[in-house]
Amino acid sequence: MALDRADRTARRAALVALLAECAPDVTGELGDDTPLISSGLVESVTLLNLALWVEEQIDSTIELGTFDLASEWDTPGAILDFVERHRVAPATRPYDPA
């Protein structure tokens, strides 16, 4: 559990760094519940960068059209939850949109 928390903290820091680079309008402290998509903070190009980052984290390609991206990725917390749900485990677990 402690390792999971450390993973999440590190991944959160990486996500914040990505948003810092791709979305200059995302300023100040980024909360786990800060809306990114529904608020318009994240533009379409940034969302593509975010998709590439998530694919890197789960080590698998994502069929972006197979889930409701607007709600599942709307906040940093939701994005991290998504990554944790779909992350390839030590053995190989292919990405399953279901």
Partner: protein, 507 residues
């Protein structure tokens, strides 16, 4: 709409708008923007659409260059904007709310329009918002020439319910995507630009409004094709895509996703009223760089791009030979606002040199092969390295700076910057970032920052941006999280008119 427009004419006339006035409009992509535009044109004024993402510093720079008299806002501007514009002598107006001017008593008849075809209609700023702005001046005549040309080719069919999700402060979105169909009697649907949530439900938007035509940029389609469920009704007849290179595979993907009869790859330049050439999938096999046939006017590929003498049409490139793309069209701008020097560099004897390198094939189809002008194209949003250099070189600790584009898988290109600084302590870097944020709009703000000991230059002292980009690609950029912390010193200059080199933080 006519009634609403009439009320707006009465309102702006009462406020003192007169023929020849240049008027900044600080919002776009709304019905009210178009009502204001028509009302101001009816009064003989020239409209200057402003990108709502610009900083107060940039807006002031543009207002000064335009010698604007009025500044129209949808909502009350904050103090930074209002104070700066008022200090320049502009009168700030708030565009009336839909029903707020219901009580306005309209005259029983209107005087004849003050409009002349050769009056200025639009000033579209394409670069220079941080220094010496480059404003493209279109007259009513040049705009009408573009719309007449578009009516002939590609024609008006399919435009009956057109969607505009491109920003209305630039030529592609305003002149071709929005005004061409709307002023030709078609229905226009406008939605905010750039928003990811709109792209995610693009198929539903198309279905909901029975959209028959839209234009866009490749970056939008990259996201839509991956994320948005396609439209169910397949109402789209024509899809235009421009402002950035459209790859053959993406072109095919757009056609399949939309189910549109025609997907056109278009080539446009603001200086000639945007769309000047294009082609559809049904007329060709998709190829990278393929633009197709010119739509009206003359498009030539010549061996010289030199505007110091009239272009020699006896020197056309042979088919397959790359050269400089020139355009001769009645839709040509009047010139760059107050910049005869720039106009002379771009226009010669009625010919406009686009700054693009192209080639015609044996069948007369145009291909783009590169560009000469310095710009970074982020999926259709263009920024100019010189604009960013101009801001960062005025930071107190800057010794040298070079802005460049780097490859980005999502947008094609993004903005990077290399700096040589006198001091590189964390606090100085935070001040530098705060300085950039104060002066640059968010889309202009470099995404990757590098510190160098020196900027490599050519023997003539000219910066080689591609060489700097290559050098930085081998380095690790600065950690932006650290740059974005609070700066101890104030982050805004008090003196907006100080000379370059005098401005600095904490000085």
């Amino acid at each position: 709409m006519p009634r609403r427009c009439e009320r707006r004419i009465a309102y702006y006339r009462r406020q003192g708008v007169a023929p020849g006035d240049r008027v900044l409009i600080h919002f776009g992509n709304t019905l009210e923007f178009f009502v204001d535009l028509l009302a101001l044109w009816r009064l003989g004024a020239c409209v200057v659409p402003i990108d709502a993402r610009l900083t107060a510093f940039e807006v002031e720079t543009l207002a000064r260059a335009a010698a604007a008299r009025f500044s129209i806002w949808r909502e009350q501007p904050d103090h930074a904007f209002a104070g700066g514009l008022a200090a320049l002598g502009l009168r700030l107006l708030q565009s009336p709310l839909d029903d707020a001017d219901d009580h306005v008593k309209l005259p029983s008849s209107w005087p004849a329009s003050a409009l002349s075809l050769d009056d200025e209609a639009l000033v579209l700023f394409t670069s220079g918002s941080t220094g010496r702005p480059k404003g493209v001046v279109h007259t009513h005549r040049s705009l009408r020439a573009r719309w007449m040309s578009l009516r002939a080719k590609p024609g008006l069919h399919g435009f009956q319910r057109t969607l505009c999700l491109l920003p209305t402060h630039f030529g592609h979105g305003l002149i071709c995507n929005a005004l061409f169909p709307w002023l030709s009697g078609c229905d226009l649907f406008v939605i905010p630009p750039f928003r990811a949530d709109v792209v995610l439900r693009l198929g539903a938007v198309l279905d909901e409004h029975g959209i028959t035509c839209m234009s866009s940029v490749p970056a939008l389609w990259q996201l839509a094709l991956k994320t948005a469920p396609p439209p169910r009704t397949r109402s789209l007849e024509r899809v235009f895509c421009g402002s950035a290179p459209l790859s053959a595979s993406l072109w095919q993907g757009v056609w399949e996703w939309t189910g549109a009869r025609t997907v056109l790859n278009v080539y446009g330049i603001t200086e000639v009223g945007s769309w000047l050439a294009g082609t559809t999938l049904s007329d060709c096999v998709p190829e990278d760089g393929l633009i197709g046939e010119p739509w009206g006017g003359i498009v030539a590929v010549l061996r010289s791009g030199d505007t110091s003498k009239p272009p020699d049409r006896r020197e056309p490139c042979d088919p397959g030979e790359a050269g400089y793309i020139w355009v001769n069209t009645p839709a040509l701008m009047r010139g760059y606002l107050g910049r005869d020097d720039l106009t002379a560099q771009a226009v010669s004897d009625g010919w406009f040199t686009t700054g693009d390198i192209g080639v015609f094939d044996e069948r007369g189809r145009l291909y783009l092969r590169g560009r000469e002008r310095e710009e970074i194209n982020m999926g259709g949003t263009k920024v100019y390295p010189g604009d960013i250099d101009a801001v960062l070189e005025r930071f107190r600790e800057t010794l040298d700076v070079c802005t460049f584009g780097y490859d980005d898988p999502a947008s094609g290109e993004q903005v990077g910057v290399a700096l040589v600084l006198r001091a590189t302590q964390a606090e100085v870097l935070r001040q530098l970032y705060a300085w950039a944020r104060h002066h640059l709009a968010s889309h202009q703000l470099p995404r990757r920052w590098y510190l160098l000991d020196a900027i490599p230059r050519t023997g003539r002292g000219k910066v080689d941006r591609s060489q700097v980009a290559q050098q930085c690609a081998r380095m690790k950029p600065l950690d932006l999280r650290r740059l974005r912390g609070p700066a101890a010193a104030p982050d805004a200059p008090a003196d907006r008119t100080a000379r370059p080199g005098e401005l600095g933080l904490g000085s």
